[in-house]
């Protein structure tokens, strides 16, 4: 992946998870080692100013931790913490779709000149096997000791 794009993606992913769900993100320095498992994923199209696609795939356990931080109220002083919360596939998929939507916006804001507008599609989402993007670059990260991946496809990402 072009270095400028990979640096912008790291910044976009880091800013999104830190500000949205208060999680620190690290870039994986080695080749992506995560294996397919109990995953939650989202894919969205970039329509303007160029055509492209982005995908985000996360292990369900990581998404549950994110949801816990967003939706669960901390116990009041002296109270016991609530029992292990359970979240639905719909909640997990909604969260991953929203994270991808935000990462994509942040990435384009870093790459696209200020006088251009950009337009993103509505994310496709799912649980289980991630369909993946053909002819894409995969970039892996770690948050909460779990690995997740962002895929980027589009000629414009290779030339910027």
């Amino acid at each position: 992946m072009v270095e400028r794009v990979s640096k912008a993606l790291m910044r976009a992913v880091g800013t999104t998870l830190e500000q949205m769900v208060f999680m620190e993100v690290l870039a994986s320095v080695e080749a992506c080692s995560r294996k397919a498992g109990d995953d939650v994923w989202a894919i969205l199209d970039i329509h303007k100013p160029f055509s492209g696609r982005m995908g985000l795939v996360m292990p369900a356990e990581l998404v549950n931790n994110i949801l816990d931080g967003v939706f669960t109220e901390p116990p009041a002083f002296g109270e016991e913490p609530p029992e292990e919360p359970s979240f639905t596939d719909q909640q997990r998929e909604d969260t991953v779709a929203e994270l991808l939507n935000t990462v994509a916006g942040q990435l384009l804001a870093l790459l696209v000149p200020e006088d251009n507008t950009f337009k993103l599609g509505v994310p496709e989402r799912g649980s289980g096997d991630y369909p993946g993007l053909e002819q894409s670059d995969c970039y892996c990260f770690q948050a909460g000791e779990k690995e997740f991946c962002v895929e980027v496809r589009g000629d414009a990402f290779l030339t910027r």
Partner: protein, 130 residues
């Protein structure tokens, strides 16, 4: 204070609520909508003090929702804040020309939110000032 939050993502709506609470709006009553059409209905039913909306939503997007409420005399001055991932200076100009009070980028930052809402605070202290 009553605040309508429109976004097709329940996670995004919760993040906006949390940021508003951190920014000082912890006593606000939040009314949620999953798209622009639903937001229009909730605005007419609840008479909010402010509206926070995403841009891209199914059925009716944020721009069409804003245009619609600005056609009604009762809502010509209702503060509408866009919180969108598809934000850059060009889009911000476009939305403000349509009548948006402020345009903020996702991920929402409570400090930026508080700063953007500062002009509204003296007017919205417990009663409608818009």
């Amino acid at each position: 204070m009553k605040i309508v939050i429109a976004d097709d993502s329940a996670t995004a709506r919760m993040v906006v609520k949390r940021c508003l609470e951190i920014a000082g709006f912890y006593d606000a009553e939040f009314v949620e909508a999953g798209n622009g059409r639903e937001a229009l209905q909730k605005i007419r039913e609840s008479e909010p003090d402010m509206v926070f909306t995403d841009l891209t939503m199914p059925e009716m997007d944020g721009m069409e929702m804003l245009w619609s409420i600005r056609q009604e005399d009762d809502y010509k001055a209702l503060p509408v804040v866009f919180i969108t991932s598809a934000n850059n200076p060009a889009k911000e100009v476009e939305l403000k020309e349509l009548g948006a009070f402020a345009v903020l980028a996702k991920p929402l930052n409570p400090a930026e939110l508080a700063e953007a809402l500062r002009p509204l605070i003296p007017q919205t202290g417990g009663s409608k000032g818009w």
